[in-house]
Amino acid sequence: MHMFETLRRVTTYTVYRVVALAITVVIGVYLAILIANMGGYVDVIRKAQIDEAVGASVLQDRSLQGLPPSELRRIIDQRKELEYKRLGLDKPFMVRSFNYLWDALSLNLGRAEHLSSDSGSRQVRLILLERLPATLLLFGTANLLLFFFSLFAGLWLSRRYGSFLDKLVIALTPTSVAPAWFYGIFLILICASLLKILPFGGMVDAPPPKDKLQYALSVLKHMILPTLAWWLSSIFLSIYSRRTFFLIFASEDYVEMARAKGLPSGIIERRYILRPTLPTIITQFAFLLIGLWGGAILTETIFNWPGIGRLTYQAIGLYDTPVIIASTVIYAYLLALTVFLLDIIYALVDPRVKVGAEGGTV
């Protein structure tokens, strides 16, 4: 019975969070559309797409060939008007904005104006999906490293409270104000420009190695600096807040009790400190990640990492409207996904849920 109870609770919780996050994504994207359309740019994209399609269809129409250019132009204009009307471009913006919203959410943003995917496609959706794995690979790795390292380092330091290392970490905490791209600049300067031991940027050697293993090693080599920059920019603050948190918890009565019982410190840490604080730590980490995601754009730009962030940077330079809007949508999804994943982990490690699952044996 307890199993079902837990399952029901986790499911309700999950459903609640999915709905809440979905609403957030929708609001975020809608906001982006509203802002973008202040300059009328969304209309421009839609009209350009229609114009291109209509122009092509008229020029390819055999029955219309041989007509004088002025006549052809008249027909094109007429069909454009019809098409605008059919797609509701003559309706007020408030009505249209919801059509745009759906297009944006499904990444159905037509063709990029300047950028193209490596396979040569101009479809915004394809361009983005091609870049997504690179971003996920880099920041997935970097964030996992950050999380586990800060967790264990925090735990270790809380045991050595007042030691030299502890004081050093506290002294270094202010370094976390600088974003990852800032550390990236220095890392490139030292490791690539001066020491010449690591590449300046990019994801893989040029030309890419044919061998799978060699390829993976090359990617790994290119990942070192961006991962390190990401890690450096948050690590000291993360360790510091973990450590402070653990210290506060380590003075709770039930921990003192466990110590008095003579339990080994390993067990105390795992069962009495880590376990009850984990949900809070995960929430804190979620907040940290939310703040960091924006930094991905700049980190990828500095390191020429071929992910969504660098794509966004290129799109800004080229004023490629569909790509800019689409990358905003992708970031909204990525943020929501991060929060959702951490929420699920939260639900799984939350002791209140766990107690039910173990059938009250504790």
Binding site: A20, L21, I23, T24, I27, G28, L31, A32, I35, A36, M38, G39, Y41, Y161, A171, T173, P174, V177, A178, P179, W181, F182, I185, F186, I188, L189, A192, S193, F200, T244, L247, I248, F287, I290, W293, G294, G295, I297, L298, T301, I302, T312, Y313, I316, G317, Y319, T321, I324, I325, S327, T328, Y331, A332, L334, L335, A336, V339
Partner: protein, 452 residues
């Protein structure tokens, strides 16, 4: 208010806070110096000026003070002109040669001479020629004379009103110099691979076909060092943006931090005081706002709407109001709301507004101050980030813009470290100053942290 005063008195016991405070004061002085030495209009004119302003400064030049620490003496820019030379912007020192002009009948002889005693070659050589004539164009023969007496012909040409002869881009000359770029070939010692030291001379022999005709010449031998901060790809003195970046960054950080902190404070107080649906609404807005893609939205505003620093400041403030801070403040306000003195205020008939503004909000200030101070550096970096993305204010010279230029010109790859390092060091100092102070204030105002 007494809490703040006693808190500030405690600062003295935190050396890190004093260091932070010293850095902040230094930055404020730098910002004031920038605004006084280089008034806004002048800074904008210099920063947006093209060849007309920066004609006599080199591209990609390192800071001149590097010559003091390096054993290899890099060349400075040398200007030799028959016309009076305008002083360089920001009072940068410039080496001048000797120019002389003499006329006899239809022939005019101009000699542009200068001493060269550097260990490296110049980066570029350009000759600017101006001629006065009514109908018939004057004619000039150019000759280059090295210290050891060799003479190299630089060709001959008809002169229009204003002419620019980029000697270092003359490919025919390059071939004649044994396929060496002219800025190297013209200075190379006959044996070895270093520049020959001594007096060089460019001789111009002009033939004038009219009585009132005249020729003037300006030779610029561009060096590899310039001013205190070096120059960029557009020959601009980086000092302009380094100086002006300080007031821009500080004002940006300060205004947005004040706007955000105060609005957050008031909204949290209103939510906690009125409760019910107002509180619930604020909570929901916060939950949504926290996971909005912050930077992409700013990018959209910057690309499609406006890059003006004021628009960005408003957008950032609006996006930062409903964040985690509101939850923290709310929790504290909920406690304060139940305290006896609030009840007393209610008993004497104080209005809601009065209670919120006079009795509740001030209690939060000790917690607000450290948060406010630590918010500033992250905003300074945000402004730099926008600049780095190419979304900086279209007019203002800022640190982020220097970094953007450096990044898009591959400064690190090509070894122009000064270009990246100088704005970075200033950014780092700003961040360090405010965060050292902020973290110390946090410990002073939140005693629970002080023990740990």
């Amino acid at each position: 208010m007494t809490a703040i005063r006693s808190g500030l008195q405690q600062i003295r016991r935190y050396p890190s806070a004093l260091v932070g405070l010293a850095i902040i004061i230094a930055l404020i002085i730098l910002a004031l110096v920038a605004v006084i030495v280089l008034p806004y209009d002048e800074a904008i004119r210099l920063w947006r000026g093209g060849e007309d302003v920066w004609q006599e400064s080199p591209r990609y030049a390192r800071p001149a003070w590097l010559n003091l620490v390096s054993t290899k003496k890099l060349p400075e820019t040398i200007v030799v002109s028959t016309l009076p030379v305008t002083p360089a912007p920001l009072g940068v020192r410039r080496v001048q040669g000797q120019a002389s002009k003499s006329r006899s009948g239809r022939t005019i002889t101009i000699s542009l001479a200068f001493d060269y005693s550097y260990d490296d070659f110049p980066s570029e050589i350009t000759l600017f020629l101006t001629a006065k004539y009514a109908e018939l164009l004057p004619y000039a023969v150019l000759r280059w004379r090295t210290p050891d007496g060799r003479e190299i012909s630089l060709g001959e040409r008809k002169l229009t009103a204003s002419e620019r002869y980029s000697i270092s881009q003359d490919t025919r000359l390059e071939r004649r110099l044994g396929n060496r770029p002219p800025e190297i070939g013209l200075f190379l010692a006959p044996r070895g691979d270093t520049p020959l030291r001594g007096r060089y001379e460019l001789q111009i022999t002009g033939t004038l076909f009219e009585e009132n005709s005249d020729i003037d010449a300006k030779l610029v031998v561009y060096g590899k060092v310039y001013g205190l901060a070096g120059t960029d790809h557009k020959r601009r003195d980086l000092m302009v943006a380094l100086l002006w970046g300080a007031p821009v960054a500080l004002a940006f950080g300060f205004i947005v931090a004040v706007g955000t902190s105060l609005t957050t404070l008031i909204i949290a107080a209103i939510g906690a005081w009125y409760g019910r649906w107002i509180d619930a609404l604020i909570q929901r807005i916060t939950e949504v706002n926290i996971i909005l893609p912050y930077l992409p939205i700013l990018i959209i505003i910057g690309t499609f709407y406006s890059r003006s620093i004021w628009v960005m400041m408003i957008a950032i403030t609006l996006l930062s109001i409903f964040t985690a801070g509101i939850k923290v403040y709310r929790a504290i306000f909920l406690q304060i709301k139940e305290s006896p003195y609030i009840e007393a205020a209610r008993a004497y008939g104080a209005s809601n507004l009065r209670i919120i503004v006079r009795y509740m909000a001030p209690r939060i200030i000790p917690i607000l101050v450290p948060g406010f101070v630590t918010l500033i550096p992250s905003l300074v970096f945000l402004e730099a980030s926008l600049g780095l993305l190419g979304l900086g204010d279209p007019v203002l010279p800022t640190w982020g813009k220097i970094l953007n230029d450096a990044q898009s010109n591959g400064a690190l790859y090509k070894g122009y470290y000064y270009w990246v390092l100088s704005p970075s060091v200033l950014l780092m100092l700003t961040a360090l100053g405010f965060s050292l102070l902020g973290f110390a204030l946090d410990r002073i105002f939140n005693p629970r942290l002080r023990e740990l």
